[in-house]
């Protein structure tokens, strides 16, 4: 629908710089997640796109046109606020049609669109209720319906799921993704939860301290973070300093490990190697596979049972390596084990 572009956008609040300089290029119909720790500038970025805040410098372009002087009301964007901001004094129906009512659309049309959107969000039987009488997920849906009914060309959502419990969260995620794909609206949503970003987005923009740290597809971010910060934030648990012995071999504290050669890194370089906890296979010492590369022996130091998965901390050569397994069998703390990791699951980042 609309292509959104931030060009060297900067935002200062008085002496404080919230956004240092961000360039962002969002394709029409794309679903982009803004990911980053609290206070990094996610909300501020959204607000600038919506026009609720004016950039200190730089420009916001919609389909290539600078929108600096376009008022909020005229930008045809939609925004779902973190806490929904439903109007507590209006029924679901009134909340949903608010955007059309203020535009003075004919009753007839408003009603049609209302029916349509209520079907989509499945809130038909709640139409006469007030927000206080709804559950979190229902409120969420009202907030989305209220925004979608105006057919915005850019949809923004600010941490839309932060206050829901795990179960509801999962449902809502699926719902949002389906809807967005179906309607094809350019969508930007904010989260500080990497799982959410990964699950929902076409591309993820990681922001640290008002700067864009990385922007790419979820898998790319996950597998090829361009810095340890990003890696760490994306949930990587095993990051170790190492030295390249050859293009495909590195030496870390727990031993020598084979890696996939990576362009630009030469022998002797100081690097970080990153082993995703779910990329490591764990065997009781007795069952260790033969002839495989990259075997590390260690001992189980701690175990956590998460229901769906079990997480072990294995101490190996002075390092603690976290390993995640789907919970099929349980190994005991203290048991000696062998870890195995494929070279193509070891990522190397220049130090």
């Amino acid at each position: 629908m609309t292509e959104v572009r931030l060009n060297a956008v900067q935002k200062r609040f008085g002496a404080f710089t919230a956004i240092e300089s961000i360039d962002l290029d969002i394709k029409s119909g794309e679903l982009v997640a803004l990911l980053g720790p609290s206070g990094c500038g996610k909300t501020t970025t959204l607000r600038m796109i919506a026009g609720l805040e004016a950039p200190t410098s730089g420009e916001v372009l919609f389909d290539g046109k600078d929108v600096s002087d376009v008022a909020v009301q005229k930008r045809n964007v939609g925004m779902v606020f973190q806490r929904y901001a439903l109007f507590p004094h209006m029924t679901v129906e009134k909340n949903v049609t608010f955007g059309l009512d203020v535009r003075g659309l004919p009753k007839q049309e408003i009603n049609e669109r209302l029916e349509e959107i209520l079907d989509v969000v499945q809130l038909n039987q709640f139409r006469k209720r007030f927000p206080a009488q709804l559950s979190g997920g229902q409120m969420q849906r009202v907030a989305i319906a209220r925004t979608l009914i105006t057919k915005p060309s850019v949809l923004m959502m600010d941490e839309p799921l932060a206050n829901l419990d795990t179960k509801l969260r999962g449902e809502m995620r699926r719902f949002i993704r389906e809807l967005q794909k179906r309607l094809g609206i350019t969508t930007i949503f904010v989260t500080h939860d990497q799982v959410e970003a990964m699950e929902l987005a076409d591309r993820v923009a990681v922001i640290f301290n008002g700067k864009l740290a990385q922007f790419g597809a979820p898998q790319e971010l996950y597998q090829q973070p361009n810095s340890t910060e990003v890696a760490d934030f994306m949930g990587a648990s095993n990051i170790f300093s190492a030295r390249l012995l050859a293009a495909d071999r590195a030496e870390a504290s727990f031993g020598i490990i084979e890696i996939t050669p990576q362009a630009g890194l030469t022998t002797g370089a100081d690097v970080h190697v990153m082993l995703r906890s779910e990329g490591i296979d764990l065997y009781p010492q007795a069952e260790a596979p033969q002839g495989t590369q990259n075997l590390i022996s260690g001992q189980i130091k701690a175990r956590e049972f998460f229901g769906a998965s079990v997480q072990y901390v294995v101490s190996a050569g002075g390092a603690d390596i976290t390993v995640a397994e789907q919970s099929r069998r349980l190994l005991d703390v203290g048991q000696p084990v062998i870890l195995s990791v494929q070279p193509d699951r070891v990522w190397t980042i220049a130090r």
């Binding site: 004016a54 730089g58 600078d66 002087d69």
Partner: protein, 298 residues
């Protein structure tokens, strides 16, 4: 380009436009009256045929007279004593209101009554109750404690001012109670519960947890009451003990004097009232701000 200069300017203009009506009334009328009072007190009153601006003779005459200082003392005495009493009672009542007790609903109705009715009613009640010919005096006579109104301890029309103080307290306790109670509701009871679990007894909870948190309410309600008490006219006029009067009454008498030049003296008096109220309240606020900084609010 961020947002164009023009639209930034429009924003600014719109902002001040929204503030302007309030600003206008306060700056032009309130500020104007204040300035007028000050220039007059400094000798600018061509309409009375006086223009010695700027001269401090009126302040000189005023501050040079012993009676001014007596009046000032009296004004501050009434204001302070009644504010302190009202504050103590207000806090106690607000604390009581947060708990439940039988008849609370009815009580919550009644305690606010004085807040809703003018001071003059309070004065009338003081007259009928506390005067030498009043109800209390009559009851005393009925029980044989006194046989003549003059034997009844003088409450009204004395410089001890218990009548005035009674009226202020009667009227202001509900106000202070309400203010503090509201703040308390906002603070919630969680921190008190936390303190109880940590082993604090009732007094410790009150002094270390509750009171510091309701300080904003305490401060702003005392501020308002004290300022009012300093400037109040009707109660000290009707119930006061005659010369020396409180400053507002002194000013009123100047304004009503046959001698028109005393108007300027009156202006000097009211400006002095404003000054005194200002100085005291700012000192109070400054102390409070220090306290606030000390406890980490800003």
């Amino acid at each position: 380009m961020a947002r164009s200069q023009e639209s930034a300017l429009r924003e600014k203009l719109w902002l001040w436009l929204q503030l302007s009506p309030v600003l206008l009334i306060l700056a032009v009328l309130f500020g104007g009256a204040l300035v007028l009072a000050v220039v007059q007190s400094l000798g600018f009153a061509p309409w009375f045929g006086v223009n010695t601006f700027p001269s401090f003779q009126y302040f000189g005459a005023l501050w040079g007279s012993a009676s001014f200082w007596e009046s000032l003392w009296l004004t501050l005495y009434y204001a302070t004593v009644s504010t302190v009493i009202a504050l103590a009672m207000g806090i106690a009542l607000a604390l009581a209101l947060v708990r439940t007790f039988p008849g609370k609903q009815l009580y919550k109705y009644i305690y606010k009554l004085p807040l809703m009715i003018p001071y003059t009613v309070g004065i009338a009640l003081a007259v009928i109750m506390l005067g030498n010919g009043g109800m209390v005096s009559r009851l005393a006579a009925f029980f044989g404690f006194i046989s003549d109104p003059s034997q009844f301890p003088q409450i009204l029309k004395t410089h001890a001012g218990w009548g005035i103080i009674a009226v202020y307290v009667w009227k202001q306790v509900p106000f202070i109670t309400l203010a503090i109670y509201a703040v308390m509701l906002g603070v919630g009871r969680e921190t008190e519960e936390a303190a109880a679990i940590l082993g604090a007894n009732r007094w410790q909870i009150l002094s270390q947890v509750t009171l510091p948190q309701i300080m904003p309410g305490v401060v702003s309600s005392t501020l308002i009451c004290f300022a009012f008490n300093v400037g109040a006219f009707e109660a000290p006029f009707i119930l006061g003990g005659g010369f020396p009067d409180t400053l507002p009454v002194v000013a009123w008498r100047y304004f009503n004097d046959a001698d028109y030049t005393l108007q300027l003296q009156g202006m000097a008096t009211v400006v002095s009232i404003a000054l005194v109220a200002g100085i005291i309240l700012f000192t109070y606020l400054a102390i409070y701000r220090r306290f606030e900084r000390k406890i980490g609010r800003n």
